[in-house]
Subunit: 303 residues, 5 copies
């Protein structure tokens, strides 16, 4: 038993043993097992951005077996994907690697009017495929807010009944500037909303030092919140997640250079972030490079 | 057994013992136990206004344990919060302090088109977390009226089946002027609607002497209703709540000075109001100040 | 057993004994018991128009006990109100006075876009409160027609399963002139629609001699339908309700003078109307006046 | 056993005995029993057009008993009406005359935005009232298509579970010219859609020789389809109904002269139509005339 | 047991034996039995384009028995049609020929606002009719995306519970140019989405060499993807379907000349496509020609 893991899990003291058990399993898997940190490999970009754009940079990725193998061999804590991709691989990987079924997805072909992913999987699918958690994306700031929040409200209840925790992707989008989507105040607010909705693990983008909301009270509050370094900004986001009592992890965002990625991870780690969910920056590189990068990232989190 | 509490509860004579029992528990808790008055600490502003803006003024508030502790130690009758925050603390506070789960919430990041909070929790969650009541916000005046009223209609039925009473936040918003949202006629009307919807406890803002509705009959009626003092206005609101047969309490509104707060409480008390629901004015002050203020407020209600 | 009541009930020959039994109870209650006529006291104006405007003219009405007491002591056949008001009084009046739960309501604070009341109570509430019928408002002419008709379609089925008949308020509103809302052709049409939807008791406004629909066939038909006197117009409305095989009663409309009210009642009675549903004209007068008026109205229906 | 009826029923070989049995009952009722032809009396015009306009031409029709009596005495195969009217008469006519409950209806008072009838009855109502089939109206061409088609999809399944076949009124309306609503290509298409939706009996209007759709392929196809006479046009519509394997009957449309009606029936009969559904042209005439006309119509179908 | 079929089925290793069994049955039926290739005859054009336009070119097609007979005698793997047509023939063909029930359909008479087919059949219907699979159409690119994806998400789950696999028609339509609907990147993306939604068999149109999406990453990716020949383009689409782990078949599109059809089939075959779904190009020809063409197509797939 890892003391640090058990301390984190004590923040979920009212949860069912089924849900806590799956969180424990994810935290005790892979290279970072027992450290209280997580690195998750998510591959939903085929759905979200199209297969050519997503997999052509490293064509091994057309094969849905490539990703869970990469996750397992790199020592990731879990692998997340939409329904179809998991259906291909679950028979081989369930029980070997924690799987997270993304229950909603968006694509770039059409525009449903307001940022809102379509429901594409069910909790029963997650159970059938031997998953350890469900994943879901909300877009705080979307005019479709009520529909989406009500969907995840009901899915969390249903997932709990099957012993599954919920990983919530919280991406502000809609009534704000492009820059505002990663503004510190917006990221902290998006993470807090995800916590309040009952998510067990929250995933947001690394915040910039930009501030978006212009009301007097928000501006006043942020005068006292240091935000120059990534470490400082991460610290505020973690604080906004029930003072560090919820697992909050950060995406890598757009594909970029290795040095840039690792610097960001350093900031996340120092600021108290619980880890990373790293997709394109990993699987779009050649396999060896990807493993090297994931290894380096994990080394930082173990440091 | 407090005679005054039992007299209030006799107004709920047709209710189930489960629902009446939870009302009795809340009325018999804390400093005001047995007085028939209530002071509730609500903390949903992290969700509604953002975490930085809400908790930075008193940074202890980032920790969700801070609030129920403050409520308990200050002698509040109950503590109300959204799902996520209650999930963190319920394991420790259920049974020690009446908890109210806010079942819907709004945020400032987006705009769903019409004032309407998103459903963010379920009655089953309230039961699971050991709560004593559910909370819900309606916005009389919103074009989304029918959807919202129908949601609370169904939730009240479901809550009753679990022995839980309903606390209804009734905030007029939508087709009226900003000033009209707290106009005496609008506040009285909003409180009356909440009563008619079957709420057990109604929460509205303290009314101003402004009148919003301009139809002949309303104007004529208000010629005879004194509305210069807060006491007079509260009296009319209480009368509009089935002639005082429903517990109606008042919010503190925006953060303001201590003297101003206490003067308002005096008016509420003299006018026959059943108490206060006081959030930002309490938890955004330093802990000692907050306890002092809550103590002073309770002293007025006991006077 | 009243022969006239049994004759009316024979028009509901295919109904369940539970539903027929509650109709029988209402027809055999109060001053008009056994006459086949009904006077119902409805008090939903607090919700529909606001409490100040509604109850200030006779401030006794702020107390929800005032109305069922007035109904009982005046010899009314039934008392109708929204959920909240009935919840206060049902424990005392169930079994003593037939109660009708209004299952949907509208208010004047906001505008849901199209005339359509919000669902504010359930059939289970009506059963729980010991009611003898459910009440519901439709607005023929509203763009929200389909939603509303489908709601009452389902509620009637559910009410029947609990042995409760349905009283349908049918108020034309929407795609017509203000004058058209009480036009003879529109009132007759609205009443007919309510009958076709399966209502057991239909309530419409007294029609004027105005004609609204301008299509050739409607105009031709009304050339032969006398409509100068209230008696003639009522006769056409009753005929439009399955040739008098459904109980159709008439509202008093806006508050007005006693002579005017009684003259209208005379017309309704002579035209074969089954009675009145009289709210504001009754409860906004001083108690003694209200009882006198209701007594005079009932005397006409007994004549 | 009528050979011709059994041959028609063999087209429903996969159906349940309950559904086939009710079709058999309708085909073996009245003057046309055993001929494989049907004349149905529908009276939903009180709802659809208003009671004055509908019943004043023959005032006996205000009485809902008039119509099933007329249907029975005229030897019709079935009588169709909305919920309320059937509830008045079902107790007397169930078992004596096949009854069809129209499950959706429209009215002329309002406009729900797109052609779409409101659900006004349930399959359970049809069972309770001893009906032999359900009726439903679709408006191919309406922007509300998906909602309406999905309603009838579910109702057909539910009706089958109670052994009830479905009669589908298919009236093109919406995105086409007024003339197009009865164009041959549109009527054939509307009838085909009704067949594909699973209707057992399809009712359309008699087609004109007009063609509405202007796409190249449709125009080319209709170059070879003769459409000068009603007989030719009916033949194409029957062919479009699975090559005559579904019972397709035709409405009489607007009230018109006797000669005109009978000429149309001749065309329907010669073209292979399965019969008529004749409302206004029958019940708006004096009783004797109506019976004479229905007798003449049936004589043609027997010829 | 066909090794090649079992190899294909091994890609569905996590599926229920019921679902796999029906896939196996379809792959082991007809001329192509055991080859791992499929040719399906779909006839939903009567619904989608109208009966005259669809069946007049070969008038035998008005008879719904013509098509399954053609499919059976031509050695097709399965026959797909909407509800009504299958209801006519299922009693004769269930068990003799795999049937696929198309659960949603669109028509050309109206426009529901956004590309979205209406639900016209249920999974229970498919079971009742002895079908081997359900069919469904999605329109990636439609503003109605979320509704449609959520429908198929639920239908796949329900179909699986009855042992039925899902064939998904994936036609990009909506926010793109007409040319873009068959662009290689769009077709590959549409096919990938269908895979991710959990389809077992995917049907798309043969792609052109056009590219639709103009974002930098997509353009870059397609620089390395050869797309001059049909074979190359098919190869990319198959790769986009989980690297060939899902059965992807291609429609014939608009009716065209025999040589053109066979050339296209050659490309599909060489590119690794799993077969064709060929409607108009088959059933609109005279029977003998249709059988000849289908035979030639199958010969290519066997080569």
């Amino acid at each position: 038993m890892s003391e640090i893991v058990e301390k984190i899990l004590s923040n979920y003291a009212g949860e069912t043993p089924g849900v806590v058990g799956n969180l424990r399993k994810m935290l005790n898997t892979g290279t970072l097992a027992g450290t209280g940190k997580m690195v998750i490999l998510p591959v939903d970009q085929g759905f979200e951005h199209g297969p050519g754009r997503t997999f052509e940079p490293n064509a091994s990725g057309y094969d849905p077996f490539y990703h869970p193998k990469l996750a397992l061999e790199s020592g990731c804590n879990a692998y997340a994907a939409p329904l179809g991709a998991l259906e291909v691989v679950a028979n081989r990987y369930a029980g070997a690697l924690p799987l997270i079924l993304k229950l909603n997805n968006s694509d770039l072909l059409g525009d449903p009017g307001a940022p809102a992913s379509a429901l594409t999987g069910t909790v029963k699918d997650a159970v059938r495929l031997g998953c350890s958690a469900i994943g879901f994306t909300i877009y705080p700031g979307s005019p479709a807010r009520n529909t989406t929040y009500q969907q995840i409200r009901d899915l969390i209840v249903e997932a709990r009944e099957s012993g599954l925790p919920t990983v919530l992707w919280s991406y502000a989008r809609g009534s704000m500037s492009k820059e505002g989507e990663t503004a510190l105040d917006v990221i902290a607010y998006s993470a807090h909303i995800a916590c309040q909705l009952g998510a067990h693990v929250i995933k947001v983008k690394p915040p910039t030092s930009h501030l978006e909301r212009a009301d007097k009270d928000t501006k006043k509050a942020y005068e006292n919140i240091p935000r120059e370094t990534m470490e400082q900004r991460i610290r505020h986001v973690v604080k906004s997640c029930f003072d560090g009592r919820r697992i909050v992890i950060f995406s890598g965002g757009e594909a970029k250079g290795t040095a840039e990625v690792l610097a960001e991870i350093q900031g996340i780690h120092k600021g108290g972030g619980f880890g990373s969910i790293m997709g394109r920056n990993a699987f779009q590189r050649p396999e060896a490079d990807a493993k090297k990068l994931l290894g380096d990232v994990m080394a930082i989190y173990k440091s």
